[in-house]
C-alpha cells in the first residue's frame, strides 16, 4: 500500500472488515487490502543493510584498534594513533573476511540449517494437509511453493530456511501437525512464509555471521592484549608508550563492548522481524484469530525442543530456548514475548 507505515501502521479502513472474518473465501471479497510484501521487504532490506553497516563498522573499528595497538608496540618513530597503516590494514582485512564469510553462508546456508535442525523433507503423500497448506500460502503470496519438511519431535515449533526465493523450505514439528487445526497450521505456515517473503532468513543469517566474527576477534584481542600489556610494561620508555597504554585500554574496552553491541543489534533485528512475520501471516490468511490461537497453543506447550541450536533459534516461530531465556533480559531475546505478539495481533487493523 502507499502508506509506507510498516505493517502495524494505520492501514486502509477496508481491512477492518476482513480481519474478523475467519473464512478466506469471504475475506477475499475485500480485495483492496494490500499484500505489499515487496514494499515491506524493501523497507526491511534498507533497515537491515543499515544494521549490517553498523556491524561491519564495529568489526572494522575493532580491527583498526588492534592494528594500531600492534603498530604502537613496534615502537615506530612517527606513530600517529589516528592514521595507523597497520590499523587500516586490519580494518580492511575484517571487512574482506566478513564479506567472504557472508557469501559462503548465502550459498550453503539452507542446507546447513535444515541439517542442524534435524528436519526431513516429506512428500505430498506423506503429509497431504501440510503440503496443501504450504501451497495455499504460496499462492496467496504469489511465490513458488517452498519445499516441505517435518521435524520428528513432540515440541510445537516451525521454521523457514532458504537463502534465495527459489530454494526455500518450511519445516514444522510433528507435534505441531498433531495439535493445531487446519486454520492454525495455515497461520503458522503464513508466519514462516512471511519470514521468506521479507528475506528475514537471508539477512538473519548474514547478521549472525557478523556477530560470530566480532565475538571471535574480540576474544582474540582480549588474549593478545593481556599478553601484549604484560610485555609493554617492561619497555614503556619508548616514544609510543603513552599512546600504546591508551590504545590498549581502548582496545580492551572495545573488545568487551563490541560483542555485546553486535548481539543487541542482532536481537533487535530478530524481534522486529517476528512482529513483521506475524503481520504478514495475518495479511496472507486474512485471519489473525487463527494465529492468535496458534500462538496460545505454542505458548502453553511445555515439551522442550530436542534439536534446538543457538545458531538457528531466530528462525523459529517461538524461541526454542524460551524455558531458559525467560528470565534473561528482554534486550537479549530473539523473540518478543508471546503476550505482546498476541496483543499486537488483537490490535491489528
Amino acid at each position: 500500500m502507499t502508506g509506507g507505515q510498516g505493517p502495524w501502521g494505520p492501514t486502509e479502513p477496508e481491512s477492518e472488515a476482513t480481519v474478523i472474518v475467519p473464512r478466506p473465501a469471504a475475506a477475499a471479497t475485500a480485495g483492496l487490502v494490500s499484500t505489499d510484501f515487496v514494499g515491506a521487504a524493501a523497507r526491511n532490506r534498507r533497515a537491515t543493510w543499515g544494521l549490517i553497516g553498523i556491524m561491519i563498522a564495529i568489526g572494522a573499528l575493532l580491527g583498526y584498534l588492534l592494528g594500531a595497538f600492534v603498530e604502537s608496540g613496534n615502537g615506530a618513530p612517527n606513530f600517529n594513533p589516528f592514521a595507523s597503516a597497520t590499523g587500516f590494514g586490519f580494518a580492511i582485512f575484517m571487512i574482506v573476511v566478513s564479506g567472504i564469510w557472508t557469501l559462503i553462508v548465502l550459498r550453503f546456508g539452507d542446507r546447513i540449517v535444515l541439517g542442524l535442525s534435524g528436519a526431513r523433507e516429506v512428500s505430498a503423500e506423506e503429509a497431504p494437509v501440510l503440503h496443501n497448506v504450504v501451497e495455499e500460502m504460496a499462492i496467496a503470496a504469489g511465490v513458488p511453493k517452498p519445499r516441505v519438511a517435518i521435524m520428528d519431535t513432540d515440541a510445537l515449533n516451525a521454521f523457514a530456511a532458504g537463502m534465495s526465493p527459489d530454494h526455500v523450505a518450511i519445516a514444522v514439528t510433528r507435534g505441531l501437525l498433531a495439535s493445531l487445526n487446519r486454520e492454525e497450521l495455515q497461520a503458522v505456515v503464513g508466519h514462516e512464509m512471511g519470514h521468506l517473503l521479507n528475506l528475514d532468513v537471508r539477512y538473519g543469517t548474514a547478521v549472525g555471521v557478523y556477530v560470530g566474527l566480532i565475538a571471535l576477534l574480540a576474544d582474540a584481542i582480549l588474549r593478545v592484549a593481556s599478553w601484549g600489556g604484560g610485555r609493554s610494561s617492561r619497555s614503556s620508555n619508548g616514544k609510543g608508550g603513552g599512546a600504546q597504554v591508551l590504545l590498549g585500554i581502548l582496545l580492551v574496552i572495545a573488545a568487551i563492548l563490541a560483542p555485546i553491541a553486535a548481539r543487541l543489534v542482532q536481537m533487535a533485528i530478530s524481534r522486529q522481524r517476528e512482529f513483521l512475520a506475524d503481520a504478514t501471516s495475518a495479511r496472507l490468511t486474512r485471519n489473525p484469530l487463527a494465529l492468535i490461537s496458534a500462538l496460545e497453543k505454542l505458548g502453553a506447550s511445555t515439551v522442550p525442543m530436542a534439536n534446538a541450536n543457538r545458531a538457528t533459534q531466530h528462525l523459529f516461530i517461538v524461541n526454542p530456548f524460551r524455558d531458559f531465556s525467560a528470565k534473561a533480559s528482554a534486550l537479549m531475546a530473539t523473540h518478543p514475548p508471546l503476550a505482546e505478539r498476541i496483543e499486537r495481533l488483537r490490535n491489528l487493523r
Binding site: 477475499a28 494490500s34 497431504p128
Partner: protein, 183 residues
C-alpha cells in the same frame, strides 16, 4: 550551463519513462498470470467434483438433489468466460459445494470413508487456493490500476495499450451468511 541542465532533465524524463513503461508491462503480465493461477485452481475443482459426487452417491441416497445442483453448477461454471461471468458462476459452485459439505456432516459413514476424507481435504484446499489466488489477483489488479490512473505514470501508460484491469468480484450471494437449517 543551461544546455547541461536541459540535457539532464531530458535524460531524467527518458529514464523515468522507460522504467515506468517496463513496470506497466510487468504489471499487465502479472495480472494475466494471476488470472491463469485462478484458472489452474478452478480446473482442479472441476476435476475433483465428479469424483467426490461419484463416491458420495452411495452414501447420500436422500440428497440426490444437492449432488445434482453441484454438478449443474460445475458444468455451467466451466462454460463461463471473463472475470465478471466467471465470478457469478464460481459463486454458484461454491454455494452448492458449501451445502454439500454441510450435509455431509450428518453422514458419519461418508466422513469415515478414507477416499472421501482425502477428496474432502483436496476440495477444501482447492477452495482455499481459489480464494487466495483471487486475493492475489485482485491485489495485482489494484497495483496495476493505481499505476494506470496515478499521475504521472498515467501519461506513460498512453504510449502503449494498457487496459484497465478487471477485479474478480464476488457476487452478493456468496458474501451473504450461509443459512443453516437445524432440524
Amino acid at each position: 550551463m543551461f544546455g547541461w541542465i536541459v540535457l539532464g532533465l531530458v535524460v531524467a524524463v527518458v529514464a523515468y519513462t522507460v522504467v515506468t513503461y517496463n513496470g506497466l508491462v510487468a504489471g499487465k503480465n502479472q495480472v494475466a498470470n494471476g488470472w491463469k493461477q485462478i484458472d489452474v485452481q478452478l480446473k482442479r475443482r472441476y476435476d475433483l467434483i465428479p469424483n467426490l459426487v461419484q463416491v458420495a452417491k452411495d452414501y447420500m441416497g436422500y440428497e440426490q438433489e444437492t449432488l445434482q445442483q453441484v454438478i449443474a453448477a460445475r458444468n455451467s461454471a466451466m462454460n463461463a468466460s471473463g472475470p465478471a461471468a466467471a465470478g457469478v458462476a464460481e459463486a454458484a459452485v461454491s454455494g452448492a459445494l458449501g451445502k454439500f459439505m454441510a450435509l455431509a456432516e450428518s453422514y458419519p459413514e461418508l466422513k469415515a470413508n478414507e477416499n472421501v476424507r482425502s477428496l474432502m481435504e483436496e476440495l477444501t484446499s482447492t477452495e482455499n487456493k481459489i480464494a487466495f489466488a483471487r486475493q492475489h489477483y485482485n491485489d495485482s489488479v489494484m497495483a496495476q490500476n493505481n499505476r494506470l490512473e496515478q499521475f504521472p505514470s498515467n501519461l506513460v501508460a498512453r504510449l502503449g495499450s494498457f487496459p484497465v484491469a478487471e477485479y474478480f468480484n464476488v457476487p452478493e450471494a456468496e458474501t451473504a451468511p450461509v443459512k443453516v437449517a437445524l432440524r
